[in-house]
Amino acid sequence: MNHSVDWVQLIIVIVIFAAVTVMGFMAARWRRTGELDSLDEWGLGGRGFGTFITWFLLGGDLYTAYTFVAVPAAMYATGAISGFFAVPYTIVVYPIIFVFMARLWSVAHRNGYVTPADFVGGRYGSKGLSLAVAVTGILATMPYIALQLVGMQAVFETMGLGGDNLLAKDLPLLIAFAVLAAYTYSSGLRAPAMIAFVKDGLIYLVIAVAILYLPGQLGGWGGIFDAAQTKMETTSQATGKPTGVFIPGESGYSAYWTLALGSAMALFMYPHSVTAVLSTKNRNIVRRNAAMLPAYSLLLGLLALLGFMAIKANVDVKGLDGLANPQLAIPRLFDQEFPSWFAGIAFAAIAVGALVPAAIMSIAAANLFTRNIYRDFLKKDATPAQEAKVSKLASLLVKFGALVFVLGMDKTISLNLQLLGGIWILQTFPAIVGGLFTRWFHRWALLAGWAVAMVFGTIEAYNVINPATKKHFGGSLANIPFTDTQVYIALTAFGINLVIVVVLTLIFRALKVPEGKDSTHLSDYTADAGDPGVKDLPDLLDEGGAAPAKA
């Protein structure tokens, strides 16, 4: 096997990376409204993005290494149920956010909320519930960042970096980590927003070429699907069952739609998605985007099918450690089918495409830590400069957490990392989305439902053992207790969560347990930019601090 470094690819990747980094530093000055050492400025980009930039920012957030490494890898390895569900997922997510995200924008902007935990804390008058939401957000973001690291690692490995001894084996991962850490620390949210343009441009280019050029090379779509069908129906040696699913049979329906729905409901609970939405200029930009973002879903669907192309092209997915690693399917496909220089551009696209969202995610998780843990519990009188400093450190810690997930977990199917994050983050849905529409849920009921669902979801996921590697956390599907219906664990846990919330709310209300002070007002939920009391960054700065002043 050839593991020497491909210099053409490497040089192209380095040049593009360098160009992007320069842009990042320039971006630090772009449309600047304040100093970068305040939290709003570093962490929210100053809140003032319009439809066009938001489109790229959200796209940069949502379509990540998940899209161009993990999903195709899952398609390559086990077919439709574990991979193609991402298409209905990214279709149904937009109508869902259309319904509630505008309300979150309004209430956040009138009350100076920057994170989902801020909102929950203000709505229910409960620091405990706010802490639960913050901790969940940070925890769930880590495996999602881990997925980005795995994606970058696959690219570096395909270019021939690393070796098979113990130290060099992890070299691609360490490079990925170092690049990400250095990049986020210095630039904040502005740079990723800026770079998202380049990233999307590169990716559109690569996709267009891949979709138009590769099927011809590989003998047409019909042949590609036939090759995939043959592979999926072949019995796997490890499990004694068919390798995967080409078109779901009846027993696979529930897994397929619950994965799609669960992922869709979870997506906008992630702190980074909330950050992106809150940094828009007015209430309806997110809705306008909901109508435009599905263009990315089409991209995602076509990218997913690259996994089938890799089957047809018979790519070699053996990693540096000698084990098969489906994550290598797409990079190796490009390496094998494209000339070196174009493979280099494609790799740069994937790497930048993993870097940007990983940066956004770690910044958002760091914001959560700073505002809802550091300021609420550790140092109540922190200055804006202190907060920005803590945030930067926290974002570094979050990345170390991600690294732990990469090293500690079974990453033969990296999509699992994101699905695991989804199991956790979805448990904050009742508090956040419920709270946007009604104050009926009791805060302690929400806390109890959350706690039980978190424990249940984690145990269920731990008990899923990968039949090939025998490792825990080997998948995200399990039977609903006492049935044979296989579903995404996140939704089962969510169901349990809701039942507990409703039952306990009834009990607590009957017992007249204090329900906490709601610091939001009904009119907050429909307020828009320009209305009395709706703040944007300059106002907050005038008050002598970034948002925090509100408490």
Binding site: I91, V92, P95, F98, W221, I247, A290, P294, G530
Partner: protein
């Protein structure tokens, strides 16, 4: 009842469109088959990709309906249009 009647038809239509765009793509049994193929794509695959376009249309219509309703509501309350900030809105 008066509360229900107060909900304008625009909201109803938008709500139905959005609900359809969430529910129908999740009805796996309606599309889990191979035939008819389109350009070599099995039905299962091209049907779901086609939903991307349908969803753009349904969410787009919902957006138009809601935004018009919201502008009317805001005008009635004497609030400005945030998409075209008038001078009066600035502090």
């Amino acid at each position: 009842m008066s509360k229900l009647a107060a909900v304008r038809p625009a909201y109803w239509i938008a709500g139905v469109l959005l609900a359809v765009s969430v529910v129908v793509p999740l009805l796996v049994s309606t599309y889990a088959r191979d035939e008819p193929r389109l350009w070599g794509f099995p039905f299962f695959y091209w049907y779901q990709l086609a939903w991307v376009f349908i969803s753009v249309i349904t969410v787009g219509i919902s957006y138009q309906l809601i935004i018009r309703e919201e502008r009317r509501r805001r005008a009635a309350q004497g609030l400005g249009n945030p998409d075209a900030p008038a001078e009066g809105n600035e502090r």
